[in-house]
């Protein structure tokens, strides 16, 4: 097993990312912990309350967090924080970073985009916003809501495009090439659309709700949690995964709760309900244990940009860094 440096953090790990050689853990108690070794962890209290969502900025220089204090914050590798947005009394629980320094977030029926210059654009919805994402080009916001996904123009004029499918859509992701939009649903299923013509893709058969998805390099596969293995849908063909069986990697008695595709190799890290973490290669399905079961569900996984370190977080705060370069 590659070398694991355990870190004991004080609360639920909501998300983890890497900032300039350090892992940044966003916790349920509102703090961000920056660390690269067990004896070198720095805590910064970023939110007055809990963190509900966290993502890395595309430039890799800051961690963006949203909290139940109604704030969206940016934290850099040195622990310096910046307030990006505040709406008192609102729980901001959806968050995404986009091109040109734009950040999208949502609370209840309202989504916002904050542009790099600080200007904020509002996107009111008729029903709750279940997720936000950006298209890779052109500054377009994608939102998931009840019975549909919507593509909004952020700065350009133009009517939003609606992609309908009955049901509550609780999360959203866009393929790296911008061709496909996929939502996670209240039902145990994903729904996808080919954006150019709205063609539907149904991805079903999960025993639990899908709460973690990750695109493999070049968007060839979409890895998903929510089953007793990672389920990977093929997206390299023109019409996406339709009519093709998914890959099932890392079959295990417990539910997969988190997935994270390696940044350059066809390898996926899979975190399970009992704390086990495996790294599995797509081609020959070879498995390497990254962390042994500890009882607590894995709640966050992230590879470093160079693909040499895997950061792991769990619901109890037990966390760790795995150096895959160490023999």
């Amino acid at each position: 097993m590659p070398r694991l440096t355990p870190l004991a953090l004080p609360a639920y790990v909501v998300a983890v990312t890497h900032l300039g050689g350090r892992a940044a853990f966003a916790l349920g108690d509102g703090s961000v912990h920056l660390g690269h070794a067990a004896d070198d962890v720095r805590a910064v209290q970023v939110h007055d309350g809990g963190i509900l969502a966290a993502v890395a900025a595309p430039d890799g220089k800051s961690l963006i967090t949203a909290g139940d204090d109604g704030r969206v914050m940016a934290t850099d590798a040195e622990g310096a924080t910046q307030l990006l947005f505040e709406k008192k009394g609102k729980w901001i629980d959806q968050l995404a970073c986009g091109p040109q320094g734009a950040v999208a977030f949502a609370s209840g029926r309202m989504a916002w985009v904050r542009l790099a210059d600080g200007q904020v654009v509002e996107f009111p919805h008729e029903k709750a916003v279940g997720g936000v994402a950006f298209l890779p080009k052109g500054l377009r916001l994608a939102t998931a809501t009840v019975d549909k996904a919507i593509l909004h123009w952020v700065t350009a004029k133009g009517a939003p495009a609606e992609l309908g499918w009955k049901g509550a859509h609780t999360g959203i992701t866009v393929s790296p090439d911008g061709r496909f939009l996929v939502t996670t649903m209240q039902e145990m299923a994903l729904h996808g659309w080919r954006i150019e013509d709205g063609k539907h893709m149904r991805m079903t058969g999960y025993p639990a709700k899908v709460k973690s998805v990750s695109w493999s390099p070049k968007g060839r596969w979409l890895a998903t949690a929510g089953a007793n293995a990672a389920i990977l849908w093929p997206f390299s063909a023109k019409d996406g995964p339709m009519g093709k069986p998914p890959l099932q990697l890392g079959p295990y008695p417990k539910l997969a709760t988190q997935v994270a595709c390696h940044p350059t190799e066809e390898v996926v890290a899979i975190g399970y309900q009992d704390g086990m973490v495996l790294a599995v290669r797509f081609g020959d399905q070879a498995e390497v244990a990254m962390r042994h079961p500890s009882g607590e569900p894995v709640s966050a996984l992230a590879w470093s940009p160079d693909g040499m370190t895997l950061a792991i977080g769990t619901e109890s705060g037990a966390a760790g860094l795995v150096d895959i370069g160490a023999a």
Partner: protein, 327 residues
């Protein structure tokens, strides 16, 4: 399992607070939030302005009811609750229980059904009780003009009959009998200005059926109804039942009369089964499980209660009787 693990995974008790506008719900909520009772509650409210309490665990939400995609029109859930409870789980340990306040006009069914239908909510929380605040002065007219008021009484495990100091003994007797005609199984606590020992309504496990079904409603039978109320209840009793016939009966009746069945609860003795079997349901959703072995000192008696609107009472009785094991 160690005790630490057990407490980390113990389901969090949830109390639902309903009541018509002006009945005293906000007074009760403010008391729970301000009084020193040694417990901390996360509170989900729909009318934020009314709660004048600065508490970082008060969440303002818009009721977001949607149908589940399972072809059942009465399977509605509260999407906002699913999302907020998921967020609260990231702050596990910082509160002891969750209180959900519904708006005065709310139908309690989607709230209750959320706790049956959503696997994540089910796994992490336990519906402790539905507490309905009614006021002695105005309940009679509310029952006449608002079906929601009737539903709220029908759904309750505990009814706080408030403002008893504002009515005559005759009026009070009449209100009591109105409540019992709709729901003889709820525990009724009479109060002035919601002065009640909070331990009487919080974390009582009232939704768990044992106490409800230990109430013998027969002595409450009262043909002297003051309202043309259409919500009534029926309590059915028998000895051992044939499980196959019983499940057939329950499935048949909930399919046929589901939209009109508000609550269904039962403790059952199945032939050759040493365990008590408990069932409960809302509309078409029914769930059941073995609870514990029948004790030697308790009679093996099956009891089933339906509370509903315009139900086929005679058909329910005949259908239930047919599940008996011939003596």
């Amino acid at each position: 399992m160690s005790s630490a693990t057990a407490s980390a995974t113990a389901p969090i008790p949830v109390t639902v607070l309903t009541g018509y506008l002006g009945a005293g719900k906000t007074t009760l909520l403010n008391r729970i939030l301000t009084e020193d009772h040694g417990k901390k509650y996360a509170v989900i409210v729909n009318e934020f302005g009314e709660v004048g309490i600065d508490n970082d665990l008060v969440v303002d939400t818009d009721e977001e009811v949607f149908e589940m995609n399972n072809g059942c029109i009465c399977c509605t859930v509260r999407g906002d609750l699913i999302r907020i409870i998921e967020g609260l789980m990231k702050r596990k340990g910082s509160f002891d229980g969750i209180l959900i306040e519904t708006t005065g006009l709310a139908d309690p069914a989607p709230v209750a059904q959320t706790f049956f239908m959503d696997d994540d909510v089910r796994a992490r929380t336990r519906l402790d009780a539905i507490v309905t605040v009614v006021d002695a002065l105005n309940l009679a007219s509310r029952l006449d003009d608002a079906p929601e008021a009737e539903d709220q009484v029908a759904f309750a495990d505990v009814i706080l009959l408030n403002k008893v100091d504002l009515v005559t003994p005759e009026q009070l007797a009449r209100v009591r009998s109105d409540i019992r005609a709709i729901n003889p199984y709820a525990r009724v606590i009479e109060t002035e200005r919601c002065k009640v020992e909070l331990g009487e309504i919080l974390d009582k496990g009232a939704f768990d059926l044992t106490r409800i079904l230990s109430v013998d409603p027969d002595f409450l039978v009262d043909d002297h109804h003051h309202h043309n109320e259409d919500v009534r209840s029926i309590s059915l009793k028998a000895g051992d039942l044939d499980p196959e016939k019983f499940f057939d009966f329950v499935n048949r009746e909930t399919q046929a009369q589901g939209p009109n069945i508000l609550r269904l609860k039962g403790i059952l003795a199945f032939k050759d089964d040493p365990d008590r079997y408990v069932v409960q349901g809302v509309h078409m959703i029914v769930e059941g499980d073995h609870q514990r072995p029948w004790r030697a000192d308790e009679p093996r008696e099956s009891r089933l209660v339906f509370i509903g609107r315009d139900l086929d009472w005679a058909g329910l009785r005949t259908g239930f009787e047919a599940c008996r094991i011939a003596a």
